[in-house]
């Protein structure tokens, strides 16, 4: 996204298409990519992304007392949003907290519903100048701030798995560029490869103090009708996994008011969004990007 803004600002082009498409479910390239990710860690039976995030999540349990009771609120809350989204893979498949508790372990402490989906499909967004956007068919979502931070430490060498991750500095940078405070944000679309990723990102952005996520999530904070809606399409946990395009596309669509039954505002008993905070994350918490979008 920052590259897109750069080539637009320098006049190299007028419209930038950012797209992602993958037959990750029906093909085997995602599985192969995840297996190759582990390198010689495979010698010890350590593979893919779930194991890496399980290591990070376990350290967080030890350091600030999080755990499945916190992650369950995220998994179940996002599933409620997915059930308002006919395009979601988990549409029509509600999940209760008891369902979560009964779900099988994949790599403990992560259960199956702590993991994102694997999806066939894609997403695309178009970036252009505000001046050109005025004449387009849809109202634009305006980029008001961006930030990145890339600690880049492999999980086996990291001593900050329980945060602060790159989300801390990336979030601060984006808020400073936008010239707003965190309490001016109306909703979040958080990269959610795993439930723990959502918790540590919201925590590092400053929505709650370490270990206070469980209390903050009580009473449906992130759900339809909640005070801080999060991952309103169902996210990667319950809608579809399209890398960083899942959160950014949903954030833009919500700002544009194109989300049907899951639209933030009166339809879902939530605040009509002026500002949405959006994250992307790479590796095992190795890189982080944050974008703030606002209504025009």
């Amino acid at each position: 996204m920052q590259h897109a803004v750069g080539v637009l600002e320098s006049g190299l082009c007028r419209y930038v298409l950012i797209s992602y498409g993958h037959n990750a479910l029906s093909g085997d390239s995602m599985r192969r990519m995840l297996m190759e990710l582990s390198g010689d860690d495979a010698v010890f039976g350590h593979f893919g992304a779930t194991g890496g995030y399980a290591l990070a999540a376990r350290r967080a349990m030890h350091e600030f007392g999080t755990g499945p009771e916190t992650w369950k609120k995220i998994a179940v809350g996002q599933r409620k949003w997915a059930n308002l989204n006919p395009a979601a893979m988990m549409f029509g498949k509600p999940m209760t907290e008891a369902d979560y508790d009964k779900a099988r372990w994949v790599v403990e402490p992560l259960r199956l519903p702590d993991n994102c989906l694997i999806t066939d499909g894609g997403r695309a967004i178009i970036v252009t100048s505000l001046e050109r956007a005025r004449d387009l068919k849809q109202p634009p979502a305006v980029i008001m701030g961006m930030g990145q931070d890339h600690p880049s430490t492999a999980v086996a060498q990291s001593d900050w798995m329980a945060g602060p991750t790159g989300a801390r500095k990336a979030g601060e940078t984006a808020l400073a560029m936008a010239g707003i405070r965190l309490d001016e944000v109306d909703a979040c679309e958080i990269y959610d490869c795993f439930t723990y990723t959502v918790e540590i990102t919201l925590q590092d952005y400053g929505f709650f103090k370490p270990g206070e996520g469980r209390d903050w999530l009580q009473g449906g904070t992130i759900e339809p009708g909640g005070s801080m809606p999060v991952n309103t399409s169902g996210g990667q946990l319950s809608e579809a996994y399209f890398m960083g395009l899942t959160p950014i596309a949903e954030g833009a669509m919500q700002i544009m008011g194109r989300c049907g039954k899951r639209q933030l505002g009166p339809e879902t008993r939530t605040k009509s969004p002026e500002i949405i905070m959006i994250s992307d994350n790479g590796g095992i918490l190795e890189s982080h990007s944050c974008i703030l979008l606002r209504r025009w």
Binding site: M35, G39, D40, D41, A42, V43, F44, G45, H46, F47, G48, G51, A54, L55, A56, R58, R59, M61, H62, R104, W105, V106, V107, E108, P109, V155, A156, Q157, S158, D159, M161
Partner: protein, 141 residues
């Protein structure tokens, strides 16, 4: 029965480490500039960029920094081991090593528990450094 799990891919960088393992020694590079003991191997120090190193042999004692318990076999060679424990061990000398915890059940493992190296000779030329609960209080610093 033949060994059916993945083996390390030996290259110029990690050769000294795996040769050490075969001799039941945990060999690391220690920076001559700043004393930092590093893993994985590299041609210069990530802290001070010095290229000079000396060999440091770890006592093989450390603590479990974190761990994860596998309930799914992503490779058929591990199917018979489920559930098994993958851990990051913080050695007393500094390096973090990804490994397995053996010699106890997964539910007995906790973060920060003291562990010691448990060598596993898996094939002719390869020995894996795994870790088990520390047998005595000796060596705890």
């Amino acid at each position: 029965m033949s060994y059916d799990k993945p083996l390390p891919r030996i290259n110029a960088d990690n050769q000294a480490f795996w040769e050490g393992c075969r001799m039941h020694e945990l060999r690391f590079q220690q920076c001559k500039g700043c004393g930092h003991v590093r893993w994985p191997p590299s041609d210069r120090c990530p802290r001070c960029h010095c290229t000079e190193t000396r060999r440091l042999i770890s006592k093989g004692i450390g603590r479990v920094y974190t761990f994860a318990v596998y309930h799914v076999a992503y490779h058929p060679g591990f199917a018979g081991d489920l559930p098994y424990t993958v851990a990051v061990v913080a050695l007393d000398e500094g390096p973090h090593l990804l490994t397995n915890i053996v010699g106890c059940r997964p539910e007995q493992v906790v973060c920060d528990m003291p562990v010691e190296v448990a060598w596993e000779d898996v094939v002719d030329r390869i020995t894996l450094p795994k870790f088990r609960p520390l047998s005595s209080a000796e060596g705890l610093g």
